[in-house]
Subunit: 79 residues, 6 copies
């Protein structure tokens, strides 16, 4: 089933650990970009734009923080 998903890898928010949950947050954030701009060539051209721009790196960090808040809650904070 996970092979058919486009937006949530494995179609689950459950992760074994905070580290795995954070990696999932990063992936989910990237998949939203991918569905909004499906052309891989365009995305490749945009990569240097954000990876070399401090403001955009910070904005990506905020996106990951938001996704992680949801994932952490879904996993009851791994308590």
């Amino acid at each position: 089933m996970s092979e058919q998903t486009q937006l949530i890898p494995g179609n689950s928010l459950i992760a074994n650990s905070p580290e795995e949950g954070r990696a999932l947050a990063v992936k989910i954030a990237r998949l939203t970009i991918k569905i909004t701009q499906p052309d891989a060539e365009v995305r490749d051209k945009l990569r240097p734009a954000y990876a070399n721009d401090a403001a955009m790196l910070i904005a990506i960090g905020q996106t990951v923080a938001m996704e992680f808040a949801t994932i952490a809650k879904a996993n009851n904070y791994w308590q």
Copy 2:
């Protein structure tokens, strides 16, 4: 009833899986744009503006993250 909705497809936040919930988040985010700028022609002209701009792609990602937080909670994180 879902045919009459303009803002929430199917008039429900319930989704069968994280993947469906995420797709719903993407749709809801788009419908807000649509009601704010109802002219399809204008929206079509704006599409390249954000799909080719790294900062806007990130901002869209943040919007989807926010909508998904609500949908995930409504679905008790699909636990």
Copy 3:
């Protein structure tokens, strides 16, 4: 009582459905703009500025997402 409100239509966060709750979120977001810039003429002049600007449309979408998060919770996600 709802006629006297300036910020929350009907002075209530309760909505009959997700669609109505979303429409309420849109209205509340607009009323905040209205109280911050009470001059209707100025607001009318600003309308094209945001309805034709991709970045601003996205920012409006984020605002509505935030308002909806509160309304959805107030309605226990219409479960």
Copy 4:
């Protein structure tokens, strides 16, 4: 006691209704600006900058949405 407060009017998050709660959110948002820029003359000069700028009006709306989320929760959504 409320006369001595600088940041939270009445030193309380409790409001009688959604409308009053929203008005409190607006006031709290403004008081943060005031403590960050205590010079009334400077604030008066900045007012046209944001009241006539669509992007800033939207950003103010996001701030009020955030404050309201906290106030609404403090009041158990007036249920």
Copy 5:
């Protein structure tokens, strides 16, 4: 112990009142800036940049709103 803290004054999120909680939110927001830019001279030079810029004042307001949301919850909204 509070003398050794750099990020959370008093090493506690507990505040006696909403006003004190809000003041704590303001302090915590400032301490994050301080740890990111530890050079007091640089921070002093940046102060006019944000205290005289409407967009930055609004952004600071959003930061304080975020910190306050956490502090208010930690104090059970002073109920």
Copy 6:
């Protein structure tokens, strides 16, 4: 195990105190930047860009506020 983590130091959201939790929030925020821009040389070049820019310092503060909200909740606000 913590040596292998790239995103969450110690692979845990648990912290002994608000101060430690806040420091963890700062570290997690930085590690997201690091995974997005893995080239240390580029990151070093970007550092002055944000440490000397008021708007970026504020945006970093917002990121840390978001991460801290999650960590504080994971630790039940150290009550």
